[in-house]
């Protein structure tokens, strides 16, 4: 008997965790790295915390031939290698009992029929009531075919949720086509476009920081904030993904999704509540308010050979699978404006790239200087206050303030007040995929990107890419292990500002 908390007197006071309805999770692309390194460890973490449905099954689907047992064995190793929790046989056995594999050529009707047959049988065996979550961990080219096959075989019974990995299309036109295809057979609330940055605790903490504290929001505007700097820096290269990266480049890989979502969350107005549409409506307004940067406000770069963390590394053009004369960018810096009442004339500087000096994702809110420091000594050295949100690594928040140095004079020095997630909450931060997979099962799309957000993001990227057709920069233009090309520094120096020192 299903009873609600209100009806059941024994449930009152128990901390009932959100637990999804029974369902089968189908992973397309089960032989890929994403499944091994992210999805399976996340599912195991959810199992450890008993957050998966009581009646649940996982069906891996991919082109490679594999038996159920081989699939389970491979997934077991994935959990042992990548999970954040110690391996527990009982938890694993429970999870593995509902795990199956179907060999599937995505363009092959028979494979889809086999999958449908397997799912129907599992419904009987596991009591999952026809509820399905389909996770598309596949290249974009395979998505349309799979969506059509799922739509054709959709039964009237049970819920369907489609979780779609980035990239969602490769430009505005293709994104619209894909949205249109999805909308022919599925409701918007059945489509979950993943941007895993939104699943990160620290990104959600930006919402808590802004809207759960009374002290920040009154100064969160052009009157008090000088500018915002967002950095999404990776020290790694393309890790053997030349095929994907040559098509995407930094602008499609990071800027189009993660970076614009970080801008949206930083700049959005307070939503009236924390429902999916309220939050996404506010983010959409920001995306619509960003105007296309002019050619002087955007810089692209490509890394050459250099040293990263003491190791000599190849330049991008020497990476395996990359053309020797490729013009694909591995770095983008930009100055954007959010043209609305709150942010008019406040620049948002952003930079992102591969093979930079270190791995770091931060949002820095730099406040205006104190109008008139009355001190004789040290006043000129006073730096402005900076609220720094560390998205990764060392997740937390710090505030740079001026403080009097001990001594007889009035010397002011900058100090940091730090809040480290790991210091205050020793729970261990969940991986973004844990939260997002769970939310998809629960049907909560708050932390997923809506179709109109995706299209706004692509519209901006298409406009920037169109600008780039007009010139041909000299690549490579920054050595691996540095903070990007000199033009990136010039972009911000022209305004009398500089990138944060690291």
């Amino acid at each position: 008997v299903t009873v609600t908390e209100q009806q059941n007197p024994l449930l009152e006071g128990l901390r009932v965790r959100r637990r999804p309805d029974p369902c089968l999770l189908v992973i397309f692309g089960a032989s890929g790295d994403l499944t091994t390194k992210k999805l399976m460890p996340a599912l195991y973490a959810l199992a450890v915390r008993r957050l998966l449905p009581e009646k649940f099954g996982i069906v891996g689907a991919a082109r490679s031939e594999e038996t159920d047992d081989e699939f389970r064995e491979r997934m077991k190793k994935a959990v042992q290698d990548h999970a954040r929790d110690p391996f527990n046989d009982d938890v694993w056995e429970e999870l593995a009992a509902g795990m199956h594999y179907v060999t599937l050529d995505f363009a092959d009707d028979k494979g889809e029929d086999d999958l449908a047959q397997t799912l129907t049988e599992l419904d009987q065996e596991r009591g999952t009531n026809g509820n399905r979550v389909y996770y598309f961990a596949v290249p974009p080219s395979a998505i349309a075919t799979l969506v059509q096959e799922i739509a054709e075989r959709r039964s009237a019974e049970g819920s369907v949720r489609l979780v779609i990995e980035k990239p969602f299309g490769h430009d505005l036109h293709s994104a619209r086509e894909l949205n249109s295809l999805l909308q022919q057979s599925f409701e918007e609330n059945e489509v979950f476009r993943i941007d895993h940055y939104l699943g990160k605790e620290t990104v959600q903490n930006m919402l808590a920081l802004r809207f759960a504290n009374g002290i920040f929001e009154p100064i969160w505007n052009r009157q008090f904030i000088d500018h915002v700097q967002i950095t999404v820096a990776e020290s790694i290269g393309i890790e053997g993904r030349a095929g994907y990266y040559e098509q995407a480049g930094a602008i499609r890989d990071i800027f189009q999704n993660h970076l614009l979502q970080l801008v949206a969350i930083t700049a959005m107005e307070p939503p009236i509540d924390f429902t999916a549409d309220s939050v996404r409506n506010e983010k959409l307004k920001v995306l619509k308010s960003i105007h296309t940067p002019g050619p002087k406000h955007i810089v692209r770069g490509q890394y050459g050979p250099g040293f990263v963390e003491g190791h000599e590394v190849n330049g991008y053009r020497e990476e395996q699978g990359v053309e020797h004369s490729t013009m694909t960018e591995t770095f983008v810096a930009a100055k954007l404006y959010v043209d609305n009442w709150r942010w008019a004339d406040t620049p948002f500087y952003m930079r992102m790239g591969k093979r930079l000096a270190r791995r770091e994702t931060t949002i820095a809110i730099q406040f205006k200087r104190a109008p008139h420091p009355p001190f004789e000594d040290g006043g000129s050295e006073l730096r402005p206050n900076v609220l720094l949100i560390h998205v990764q690594p060392n997740e937390g928040v710090s505030l740079a303030i001026g403080a009097k140095a001990p001594g007889v004079g009035m010397t002011i020095r900058n100090v940091h007040m730090d809040f480290l997630y790991g210091g205050a909450f020793r729970e261990g931060l969940p991986d973004a995929y844990e939260r997002l997979i769970l939310d998809a099962m629960l049907g909560d799309p708050t932390l997923f990107t809506r179709s109109d957000e995706i299209e706004e993001q692509w519209a901006l990227v298409d406009a920037i890419v169109a600008l780039w057709q007009r010139d041909r920069p000299s690549f490579p233009n920054y050595p691996a292990g540095t903070w990007g090309p000199a033009a990136s520094d010039e972009l911000i120096h022209r305004d009398g500002r500089s990138w944060r020192r690291h």
Binding site: V1, V3, Q7, N8, P9, L10, L11, E12, G13, L14, D90, P393, N394, D418, F419, L420, G422, G423, A424, F425, R426
Partner: protein, 295 residues
């Protein structure tokens, strides 16, 4: 032994003082904190989410210290370990330590202040605790053993702390009627109650059929009594309508059949205490269970 360390401290430094004063303790804490980061290093963070007090009569001291060693890593806090020794001459002895744990490239330090309250000082714990609380953060007090209800020291601590944590399994007498009298003054948690949580989930799943079934609850005295009181109160059935028996561990029979044992929600005693330290509001269901059990 109640807890095991999950992460070894990076460093630990101590100061011991006989007949110490609060000013000395505060001064030594500051000195140790600065010294813990070493010369030329970035200062370690003092991160605190609470002041955690443990009232530890001498017979509980070893177990309590081991538990607290595990808690420092989980709940960065200022911990005050109060050991009452009323039989000794008046005075206050202190052992102050800073324990730093790695967090990424930095270290986060917690403070542990062990205080032996000698002679009449043991009758005035609030006067020691109040100046050592961290401002604006919640104050939890784990009272080891059976609280001396009505005593001056307990009354003082009830007025100082936000949450009183007991484990009624440590009590010789289940004095729930006296415990219930402090509910309106301080939020109370009971680790014995927390241990029954997986069973309460399991029993909730039996609703609505359980309302009319024959029930027998068994277990250690505290756990079984609390579960029994809770079922009676929540199902609106008289206490003697639900059978109660003592056993080594909790079990429930419905219509004469044993319910499957649910998987425990907390693996170690440290997990149990940790769960209590994460709860800030009053536990109305616990209060109801206690009042029902005390009838």
């Amino acid at each position: 032994v109640e807890a095991t360390l999950t992460v070894e401290p990076l460093s630990e430094s101590n100061w011991t003082g006989e007949d110490a004063t609060i000013a000395q303790i505060e001064r030594e804490l500051a000195r140790l904190r600065i010294a813990s980061s070493g010369e030329d290093a970035q200062p370690n963070l003092r991160t605190s989410v609470m002041t955690h007090i443990a009232w530890v009569p001498a017979q509980w001291q070893v177990a309590a210290e081991e538990t607290l060693a595990g808690m420092g890593e989980r709940h960065p806090s200022r911990t005050l370990l109060l050991v009452p020794r009323p039989e000794k001459d008046d005075g206050l002895d202190a052992l102050v330590s800073i324990r730093c744990f790695p967090v990424g490239e930095r270290a986060v330090c917690g403070e542990v202040i062990e205080l032996e309250l000698r002679g009449r000082v043991a009758e005035a714990p609030a006067s020691i605790v109040l100046p050592l609380l961290i401002s604006d953060l919640p104050v939890f007090c784990r009272w080891r053993g059976e609280p001396p209800f009505g005593s001056s020291e307990l009354e003082q601590m009830v007025d100082v702390v936000d949450r009183l944590i007991v484990d009624s399994q440590e009590w010789d007498d289940l004095r729930y009627d006296e415990l219930a009298q402090v509910f309106d003054r301080v939020a109370v948690s009971d680790i014995a109650w927390r241990r029954t949580e997986s069973w309460r989930f399991a029993l909730a799943r039996e609703w609505p059929g359980i309302a009319h079934r024959e029930i027998e609850v068994r277990g250690t005295r505290a756990e079984a009594t609390l579960l029994h009181g809770w079922l009676s109160a929540r199902l609106g059935r008289p206490l003697d309508d639900i059978a109660l028996a003592e056993a080594d561990s909790v079990g429930v029979q419905l219509d004469g059949e044993d319910m499957p044992r649910p998987r425990p929600l907390y693996a170690t005693p440290s997990d149990l205490l940790s769960a209590e330290l994460d709860q800030f509001d009053r536990d109305r269901m616990y209060e109801e269970a206690v009042r029902s059990a005390a009838r």
